[in-house]
């Protein structure tokens, strides 16, 4: 399969899976088998692109010129490759988890759930492989729309209100700011193609660059920069697999991925770092990191706490991008990977606790380590990885990010990163500690784990946290190629 076919196939496969999933709604086993097959095939196709990308090639596919000069086109560059790998790879894991979760928790309308899940993955891959800002924007919006039915899955009053916040913030930021920034860029540069070194150098004054960066940074509501972060906690009414894959990995990472792409390929890091045009963004990100962590500490609902933790962690990546140097880009994109593994583990655990013990509040979770030792052990690993303690993956990305702040002489930012790690310890670690060491307050005795289909995925991703620390080289090698020339 040639590169361009592989790109199109990987985006089309989840879409092709949708009607089959919908048609087999009568037989859940069949339906989920199809879902798994689609996930595995998609991942396989994405992986098939890896060798050529590692060799420095950038396979491309052109679909159609929507308006002269604005095309729907794809090109795989290293950053997109890594995002696509994570999204499609973790889709397999999440599908397995979702089977256990949805059945164990007796959710309704499971078919609709799986259909729109596949839709969302396809959109995430479209974002990953977008060759230009226009294509990226299209799939960005498709991602918002395709996840709306997932967020509002329960069709309750609460879900409807959450859906309003979700659509309201994501739509208004993307239409009000991102689209405006995009049209403006097009008007200034005459193109929206992602190009190494950016397309705006010499085309816009410093003031306009700052405004444009603002439009992109706040317009990408999915990156959950404050004050446009409210949608993420609201989206937590969705079933846990959605929170796990979409609102810890695919959707939010699509947001920070967009900011990364914009900084690297539209502005160019040289343009931004030269005159310190993105310093203000560093401070906004730093503010979000700290406030996100502080709010997380006040939340007793486990998913809400994880959501605010995600808001805070996403801003690490934005901060990395805003530093606009090579180390910042490396650290930020590394954090896309490491945070994905850490946070999906934590969400899987939260869901597993819900399925097995029907608990959502942290204060009720004392002593549950005795009933759910595997789950809580994985939770511990995930927490340590998020905090950034070796030997877990998060340590790498935090290391690079701190190095990048020092290189950029942003010592305040370095301080914020260190302080945030401390806050992470304070809001994450008590959960496993109380689970293992406090006296149990619940009535279940002995082992009471979630179904195997739930536990295996979370153990798998926890192991991933460890492995990524020990063998970071493949990821690092790929990420070091970011920003390289496109053929």
């Amino acid at each position: 399969m040639s590169g361009s076919t592989a790109i199109l196939v990987s985006i089309a496969l989840p879409l092709l899976g949708m009607p089959f999933i919908a048609l087999t709604s009568r037989s859940p086993n069949m339906r989920e088998a199809i879902g798994l097959v689609a996930a595995v095939l998609t991942f396989g196709t994405v992986v098939s692109l890896l060798p050529s990308v590692m060799d420095g090639a950038q396979p491309a596919a052109h679909v159609i010129d929507v308006v002269p000069g604005l095309s729907l086109a794809f090109q795989v560059e290293p950053l997109g490759m890594i995002f696509a790998l994570i999204a499609s790879g973790l889709w397999i894991v999440t599908t397995v988890y979702a089977i256990g979760y949805m059945r164990g928790h007796h959710e309704e309308n499971q078919t609709r759930f799986f259909v729109f899940f596949a839709f969302a993955i396809s959109a995430a891959l479209g974002v990953a492989f977008a060759r230009n800002m226009f294509t990226l924007f299209i799939f960005y919006e498709v991602l918002t729309l395709s996840t709306y039915p997932l967020v509002t899955h329960h069709r309750s009053e609460e879900a409807m209100r959450a859906g309003r916040i979700y659509m309201g913030i994501l739509m208004s930021t993307s239409v009000g700011f991102l689209l405006l920034g995009m049209v403006w860029t097009w008007q200034l540069a005459g193109t929206l193609e992602f190009a190494p070194g950016g397309i705006l150098t010499g085309k816009a004054s410093e003031g306009i660059v700052i405004v444009l960066l603002g439009l992109y940074a706040f317009g990408t509501g999915k990156a959950a920069l404050m004050p446009f972060h409210r949608w993420l906690p609201a989206a937590m009414v969705a079933p846990t697999p959605v929170s796990a894959l979409l609102h810890a990995v695919a959707v939010v990472k699509a947001g920070v991925f967009t900011i990364m792409k914009v900084v690297i390929y539209l502005f160019g890091t040289d343009l931004l770092s030269g005159a310190g045009l993105s310093t203000w963004l560093t401070y906004i990100a730093g503010f979000t990191i700290l406030v996100g962590s502080l709010v997380a500490m006040t939340k007793d609902n486990l998913k809400a706490r994880l959501a605010y933790s995600t808001i805070s962690q996403l801003s690490y990546i934005v901060l990395g991008a805003s530093l606009a140097n090579d180390l910042g880009v490396l650290g930020g994109s590394m954090h896309i990977v490491t945070h994905a593994f850490g946070k999906i583990t934590l969400f899987f655990c939260a869901g597993a606790i819900l399925v097995a013990l029907h608990k959502t509040e942290i204060s009720d979770m004392k002593g549950i380590g005795r009933q759910m030792p595997f789950t809580m052990f994985a939770f511990l690993i995930g927490s340590l990885s998020i905090i950034g303690i070796p030997p877990f993956a998060g340590a790498w990305s935090k290391w690079y990010l701190i190095m990048a702040t020092i290189e950029a002489h942003q010592y305040v930012a370095a301080g914020i990163l260190l302080m945030s790690s401390l806050l992470n310890v304070l809001y994450l670690l008590p959960i496993p500690i109380y689970a293992f060491f406090a006296t149990a307050t619940n009535d279940h005795d002995g082992l009471h784990e979630a179904p195997l289909a739930c536990v295996l995925p979370l153990l798998f991703t926890a192991t991933g946290c460890l492995l990524l620390y020990i063998y970071p080289d493949p990821v690092l090698n790929l990420l070091l190629m970011i920003g390289g020339a496109m053929p």
């Binding site: 929507v66 002269p68 604005l70 299209i138 919006e141 069709r155 409807m160 739509m171 239409v175 009000g176």
Partner: protein, 492 residues
Amino acid sequence: MIDMHLPILLIVVPLVSAPLCVLLRQKTLVWAFASLVCVASLGMASMLLIRVLEEGVISYAIGGWIAPWGIEYRVDTINAFVLLLVSIIAAVLMFFALPSVADEISGKQHYLFYTAYLLCFTGLMGIAITGDAFNVFVFLEISSLSSYTLIALGRDRRALTASYQYLIMGTLGATFIVIGIGLMYMMTGTLNMFDLSERLPAMFETRTAMVAFAFLTVGMLIKLAMFPMHMWLPNAYCYAPSLVTAFLAATATKVSIYVFLRFTFTVWGTEFVFEKLNLDAFLIPLSLIGIYVASLSAIYQTNVKRLLAYSSVAQIGYMMLGIGFVSVTGLTGGIVHLFNHALMKAALFLSVGSAVLRLGSSDLADWKGLGRRMPVTMAAFVLAGLSLIGVPLTVGFISKWYLILAALEAGWWPIALLALLSSLLAVIYVWRVVEVAYFQKADDDSNVQEAPLMMQISMWILTGATLYFGIQTDLTVSVAQRAAGLLLGVTP
């Protein structure tokens, strides 16, 4: 032979067919005949557009009387495009017509309904094709009179008052236009548009020119329902039969906008209208206010048809905004939106019409749980609604792209921002319907069937078109660009 006489056939065929409907009388027969006429017109309109794109302007002298003495039909890119639009909508709606008319119009009146429908169609086509200023008025009245009757056929008695209201406003508007045309004739001694455009510049300094233009403009703005002269529109759209609402929403205001373009750009010229009289300084703020006021009104409506009607007023604001930029990009945006909005609004009104057929009501309160009861219809509604919002991969996005680009090209970024933020109001009013249909449980358990196949065909052709032309813009954008260049006198 036929090729030569295409412009006149396009008018004569539906015009002669209309009274034939009265002779046929039998319900299905009349429907089949009217459909045939519409499809034939669509074929002729497409041939005409192709010929215009290949050969340039086509001039047809009726009865061999050469302009400026005789009436000339003059077809260039822009009116060929409008002719195509009107005939597409008329033809596609005929599928929908069979079950919808059977449901909403009493059996004895079917042949009269189709007669009026064809007359209205003739009038709209005539307005678009003619090159004679007075002829515009005549066709305008043909289409208006038949649309008053069509609206009055609505089942609710308020349809009668809505129609009456429209009659008063419409006649006032048309008469204003006649005054303007009369004064133009007084100054130049000609009614041929092309001739007028050559003779008027000599009169630009006179007060008569300004008065003529003022009457003409006000008249046209009433007809195209520009805010604040839109009061007739919401009631008319709300109480008319479903088919009529869809047809008028997609064509009548669009043709009026074409008339506005033709008179301001071709006949009077940008120099007089925009440089001397600064119409844009009036058009742009009014469009923006209209967009906001109408969108906000749409949000508070409890009837889906009326909600969409207010949305139409807002969307007309977008078209006029694009025209107000007086640039190739802006006009392209306005003209593309004219086409695109016709597609999506027709699709939306058709899905509402399907729901009305099954539920007997377009009150939002009765739409609870419709997402489960009529999934196919609601899916079309959501897709066309997304297009209204301007989500990428739909036609709405293409229009929005050009409008924003035009604002930025002119250096008016606050207008770009305002126009973008206004589309969030569209999110709110579309989502209100979505939330009721998908999140609320139906009050009763009665079984509601999906709409009949014929209705779904029309609905999905148009919904499909909103998606297709959102990706494949070769036809729409390039034709609109040519038309914009033509209107501004620059060859792209």
